[in-house]
């Protein structure tokens, strides 16, 4: 239901993008465009290679005074005659420096500016004619010999240079140094620049991933698979290749696009791997139509088996853990926890649910709404009141994004805070008391080599992880600008030394997890590598 809606929205969005993109695109390069011409503007400037970039900047800003580079030649010719080449050069330099100062002043003075002639090249012959240029030229001619202009000139130049450098630095150091390894390539924000190979469905999905419309491990996985299904449906094998060979590369370009939108989740990665394996196994001799049908069937069955049915199995066995009178704490909005709780409620069990939510996604809100609408007793609070919410909890249900092979729980950031808070109430049973944690095993189902996505996600079960190597958070860290309109943070991008960090996942150490509920049964977290092995050996 939801999924369908999402798709429809996605198509709408797509059209939107197609229409507006054309208009948006030019504006994208626009800021960069003015930068380039000045750099290549005049030959003189090019010679002063080191000073060049700084000095181009002011020029760009003030069109009227643009044609600086040529001035020295003319003025020199006017005032002084017997000068050696070296002296000439020096003088030219000095003049330019002096003029630059004047330009600066002028720029402050005249904002609208004279109908400044075109930048760069065309300026050369016209230059002496404009009155302003003349003034500048004579002024510099007088000043040139007397004062120590090079020095004076070098002052401002250095300054502008340093300003530039600083600006660059500012931009750079918005990346939190401690987590430098989490910043991958630039995240994509628009569909702009996508190659034409990328299927519209994928474009739409990408945008939904970017703004977290589709969020959550299984939702992302399902959405990706469905989008791939559409890609495959509209795919025709080009001449001269076979489907098994070419489709994989075609999909790869889609995948690359998706991963620029948001780094692929582990579930997505595993699903893609399974799909590629299946494609590779298709006999090249099968006709394209039937191959496509079998592929679509495979995708459907993957979703059904690994996600839909697995969810049901997990929800079934997790719901059995819920008893009358329980107070169940959960964090954020896990779909599988929702299924579990609804199922337990439908089985007639009476219990209370306490949902803990956090900024900035507030995923728990929709969970709270769904549960409350089906008549459960729901309490809603934020991360700051974890201790109060957990105080009288009997069980904590947490959704998992994935399990690390040393038993760690890799999940939405904040999960670990809930897991480490001791539930004060002495509950009856042994291991199931604290953390039965439903997760389906598909996150690690198909061949997962231990070295796959990032060292964070599947750490080798080695002592090394105590050092925190694997407790570091996430393969992605979108720095979502906190939604505080007109807040003091509105300008944080330009505030030096201020950085915002918003990671998406954290890893709960295995000792705070009592039980892992999977479709293969309920296990202690130490059994994770065994499950992993069983599944991979199948």
């Amino acid at each position: 239901m939801n999924r369908k809606l999402g798709l429809r929205r996605c198509v709408g969005r797509l059209w939107h993008h197609f229409f507006f993109h054309k208009m948006v695109e030019p504006s994208n390069p626009a800021p960069t465009a003015p930068v380039s011409p000045p750099v290549s503007s005049t030959p003189e400037q090019a010679t002063l290679a080191t000073e060049n970039p700084p000095q181009t900047l002011p020029i760009r800003d003030s069109k009227p005074t643009q044609p600086t580079g040529d001035a020295p030649a003319s003025t020199d010719g006017a005032t002084d005659k017997p000068l050696t080449a070296a002296e000439l050069k020096k003088k030219a330099k000095a003049d330019k420096a002096a003029r630059r100062i004047r330009q600066k002043l002028e720029r402050e003075g005249n904002t609208t500016g004279s109908t400044a002639p075109t930048p760069s090249v065309g300026a050369q012959p016209r230059q002496p004619n404009t009155p302003k240029k003349d003034a500048a030229g004579t002024g510099s001619a007088q000043k040139g010999p007397r004062a120590p202009p090079p020095r004076r000139g070098s002052g401002p130049v250095a300054q502008t240079g340093s300003v530039l450098v600083e600006q660059k630095k500012k931009k750079d150091d918005k990346k939190v140094a401690v987590f430098g390894h989490l910043y991958g390539q630039q995240r994509r924000v628009t569909v702009g620049g996508a190659t034409k190979e990328v299927h519209p469905a994928i474009l739409a999905l990408g945008m939904q991933l970017v703004d977290y419309t589709i969020c959550g491990s299984s939702a992302r996985c399902v959405a990706t698979l469905l989008a791939f299904k559409r890609v495959i449906e509209s795919y025709t094998t080009p001449m001269g290749t076979s489907l098994a060979r070419h489709l994989t590369t075609h999909l790869s370009s889609q995948i690359t696009y998706l991963s620029t939108c948001r780094p692929l989740s582990i579930s997505q990665g595993n699903a893609i791997r399974a799909l590629k394996l299946f494609i590779a196994g298709i006999d090249p001799s099968t006709p394209e139509a039937s191959a496509k049908i079998s592929l679509c069937e495979y995708i459907d069955s993957f979703i059904r088996e690994k996600i839909t049915v697995a969810d049901q199995v997990i929800a079934d066995s997790a719901a059995q853990k819920v008893q009358d009178g329980d107070v169940i704490v959960t964090f954020a909005g896990s779909s599988i926890v929702k299924h579990t709780l609804l199922l337990a409620h439908n089985q007639g069990k009476r219990f209370r649910v306490s949902i803990i939510d956090s900024r900035p996604l507030f995923e728990g809100k929709s969970l709270a709404r769904d549960l409350a609408n089906s008549g459960l007793d729901v309490q809603y609070s934020l991360v700051h009141s974890i201790t109060h919410a957990v105080k009288d909890a009997t069980k904590v249900f947490l959704g998992a994004h994935a399990m690390t092979s040393n038993g760690g729980l890799y999940s939405r950031v904040g999960t670990a805070l809930v897991a480490i808070s001791p539930t004060a109430s002495p509950s009856t049973a042994s291991s199931s008391t604290r953390l039965p944690m439903p997760t389906s095993s598909y996150p690690w189902t198909p061949p997962v080599s231990l070295a796959v996505p990032t060292p964070d996600t599947h750490a080798p079960p080695a002592p090394e992880n105590k050092k925190g190597g694997n407790r570091t958070p996430a393969p992605e860290s979108p720095v979502i600008p906190h939604k505080t309109s007109s807040s003091p943070l509105a300008d944080w991008h330009n505030t030096p030394n201020l950085q915002l960090l918003n990671i998406m996942y954290d890893v709960t150490p295995a000792e705070y997890v009592d039980m892992v509920i999977t479709e293969m049964g309920s296990l202690p977290p130490s059994a994770v590598p065994i499950v992993h092995r069983m599944v991979t050996n199948l």
């Binding site: 150091d173 939190v176 140094a177 401690v178 956090s358 900024r359 900035p360 809100k365 709270a368 709404r369 409350a372 609408n373 007793d377 729901v378 309490q379 809603y380 609070s381 934020l382 991360v383 700051h384 009141s385 974890i386 201790t387 109060h388 919410a389 950031v413 904040g414 670990a416 805070l417 480490i420 808070s421 925190g468 407790r471 570091t472 958070p473 996430a474 906190h482 505080t484 807040s487 003091p488 943070l489 300008d491 944080w492 505030t495 030096p496 030394n497 201020l498 950085q499 915002l500 960090l501 918003n502 990671i503 996942y505 954290d506 890893v507 709960t508 150490p509």
Partner: protein, 433 residues
């Protein structure tokens, strides 16, 4: 004090203004209603307001009988504490004033019983004995105020020495007492009231300086290139970090403490903090950490655990500190302290001594105040508000075992040592008055 703007919004500023003009009973009522309506919020503002109020109460109380004075202060104190029982600093200040009065009364009694000429001299001695014995570090006047309460043992020790040889003590006094100038002026039959007023003045001074005194210890605790995690916009913590920032380079990770304090935190972090009127505009002139070249990383509260493995030290502000070493602090503090425990990261709590309360917590829930639930779930989501039970606790109780060190204006203490400082500062008979 910027008066015109402050007078408009009820708070510490408006209260102090009204204290000057209005009769004392009106002022008491004003403070009670301010406390009840939570228009005075921060611990320090509450403490300052209480101290000023008690000063006017005592100066308005035309009696020299210390018993009557105590009774009067107790009755006012009870009303204030009843108005806002969770604001424990109010009680702390009342207790300290009571202790002051008792000390002065005892001194007077001692003076009467002692030899007439020595009795007059014993007063100038005590402060000096104090400076020597307890804290060579702290020369400032505020310390005397609070240290006065621990005077009885010292006085008696001193008199042990001085009584046998009265002729010796006489010549020594002029030289020794001149440094601590104002104490020399006491006449033999000094009014108890005047001394108490002076003592309260010192408490007020202390409240003004406490953050700077705490900050003086910053360099001992913050080292180069450390990563410090903090929470909320506590000015004590900010000053502490700023002091260290003058000498060292380090990184601060600041949890934003959503939803109760995030706006203030954002303002603190980005340096656009407008001095709210409780701060009396003192901090308005302070540069934020980022302008000292300190990298500040703002994170949502949920990311605390994920980042904790990189953090060297957690520095927390607090609302009040309890005698067992536990503390009541902004909600979310406990979970941060627990995460620090899991990672074996030291947790340092900075707090003025005035926040130290002689209360032992038995019922933790009674310490917790609950705030506006619409901050958690805004009323725009009306459908959800109807169905769901929403909680917004403002405070957390953090047990002593999660804290490694307290830094007060007297220095660093282990949580288990706090009961000792409590007994130094409050008289036993005042603990439950």
């Amino acid at each position: 004090m910027p008066s015109s703007s402050l007078a408009l919004t009820p708070g510490l500023g408006s209260f102090l203004k009204c204290l000057k003009t209005n009769p004392i009973d009106t002022s008491i009522e004003t403070l009670i209603s301010l406390l009840k309506r939570r228009q005075i919020r921060h611990s320090r503002s509450c403490a300052t307001a209480t101290a000023y109020l008690l000063r006017s109460v005592i100066s308005a109380c035309r009696t020299t009988d210390s018993a009557k004075l105590i009774e009067r202060v107790q009755s006012v104190g009870r009303r204030l504490m009843a108005a806002q029982p969770r604001e424990m600093v109010v009680g702390n200040i009342v207790r300290r004033v009571l202790g002051l009065i008792r000390d002065e009364a005892e001194d007077d009694r001692d003076a009467e019983f002692a030899l007439s000429d020595i009795g007059s001299e014993s007063q100038p001695h005590t402060p000096r004995a104090y400076d020597d014995a307890s804290l060579p570090l702290d020369r400032d006047s505020p310390f005397r105020a609070e240290d006065r309460s621990s005077r009885p043992p010292l006085t008696s020790m001193f008199s042990l020495l001085s009584h046998p040889e009265p002729e010796n003590s006489l010549p020594s006094t002029p030289g020794s007492s001149s440094p601590s100038g104002r104490f020399t002026g006491h006449g033999p039959s000094k009014d108890v009231r005047a001394e108490v007023l002076e003592g309260i003045g010192e408490i007020i001074d202390e409240l003004g300086q406490v953050d700077d005194q705490i900050a003086a210890y910053a360099l001992d605790h913050i080292h180069s290139n450390e990563i410090i995690l903090t929470h909320t916009s506590s000015t004590t913590v900010q000053k502490f970090l700023l002091k260290a920032a003058a000498k060292r380079k380090f990184t601060v990770i600041h949890a934003e403490s959503y939803p109760n304090n995030h706006e203030a935190t954002h303002a603190t972090v980005s340096g656009s903090a407008v001095s709210d009127d409780d701060n009396l505009g003192l901090e308005a002139f302070q540069k934020p950490l980022i302008e000292h070249g300190i990298t500040v990383i703002l994170i949502p509260d949920s990311a605390v655990f994920a980042l904790m493995s990189r953090v060297n030290k957690v520095i927390l502000g607090t609302h009040s500190v309890l005698a067992n070493g536990g503390l009541v602090a902004a909600a979310g503090t406990r979970v941060i302290a627990r995460a620090a425990k899991v990672h074996q990261t030291p947790v340092v709590v900075v707090s003025g001594v005035y926040k130290l309360s002689p209360v032992y917590p038995f019922d933790f829930d009674s310490l917790i105040e609950y705030g506006d639930p619409s901050k958690v779930l805004p009323y725009e989501e009306g459908d959800l508000v109807d169905l769901v039970d929403v909680q917004n606790p403002i405070y957390d109780y953090v047990p002593a075992e999660l804290v490694d060190l307290y830094i007060t204006n007297l220095g660093g203490h282990a949580p288990s040592y706090l009961y000792r400082i409590v007994s130094d500062h409050y008289r036993k008979e005042d603990i439950s008055f």
